[in-house]
Symmetry: C2
Subunit: 129 residues, 2 copies
DNA sequence: GGATTGTATTCGAATATCCGAATACAACAA
DNA sequence: TTGTTGTATTCGGATATTCGAATACAATCC
């Protein structure tokens, strides 16, 4: 993954990174809703919900269909949103690894790299010489 | 998903939501690395990388094993990280839906809800009476 | 002991995000 | 046309994030 991609990916993730916006997305997974519907479902005021919807729109996560004076918001990338909600809802166990395991990993990686190019020595390893 | 969960999920997502931190995670997917290694791989200075690693540590996405003066960082929830990187790397098509489709969706949802409780009328619908 | 290397933390200024209040605007009803 | 409803936008202050510079700290070497 290049830096450019990281930048774009970070932008997308920022759109997800707010409790109210996540709640909005959760509601929209159930079906399209207008702002007033969301106002009843969420602990936030109308203006604020509209502001968050603007962020989600910029991120191309939601769009709306006009219905009279109302705007029915819907997910325009429903699979992305569902998968993201599932991912952050999942509770992966946190693993702790020992220095020995890590060392083995580093060496394995170093050997793999050595096949393609000269291994890079760390400052400390250079100093040892 | 409750508001509490949204709060926690948003915190987790914030840890991911930075180009440099995503790049660090990409590097760590390949194998454990110390700060100096990352300094060579990323367009960021040592202090800044340490700061971002602190954020990732707080989010329990990485941990380290001390190795002399160095700290070998590794992913402590590798599956979560890999799945997240895959998800944001994926490029889901953005779909636009017509008002008619949305309306059908809303009505389907309304019928489903009506089975369990009295339907809630919108302000506009109440005004029509 | 001092010097060096690898890393973390603190500080401060720049920037960004957040949210309420107020206001604007668009669709519709009367 | 005027009023009402649903929604968006603007403004401003509070808060948070970001990053460089400086410094602190810990391990190792001499």
């Amino acid at each position: 993954m290049e830096f450019q991609d990281s930048q774009a990916a970070a932008e997308l993730l920022k759109a997800f990174s707010h409790a109210t916006r996540l709640s909005i997305l959760v509601e929209l997974v159930a079906g399209p809703k207008c702002v007033t519907d969301m106002e009843e479902l969420l602990p936030a005021r109308q203006a604020n919900i509209s502001q968050h919807l603007a962020v989600l729109r910029n991120a191309k996560l939601v769009d709306y269909a006009q219905d009279g004076a109302m705007r029915c918001y819907y997910l325009c990338r429903p699979n992305l949103v569902k998968d993201m909600l599932a991912l952050v809802g999942r509770n992966d166990p946190v693993m702790k690894r020992t220095p020995v395991e890590i060392q083995a990993d580093k060496e394995r990686l170093a050997r793999a790299l050595a096949k393609n190019s000269a291994p890079k020595a760390s400052r400390r390893e250079v100093a040892k010489r």
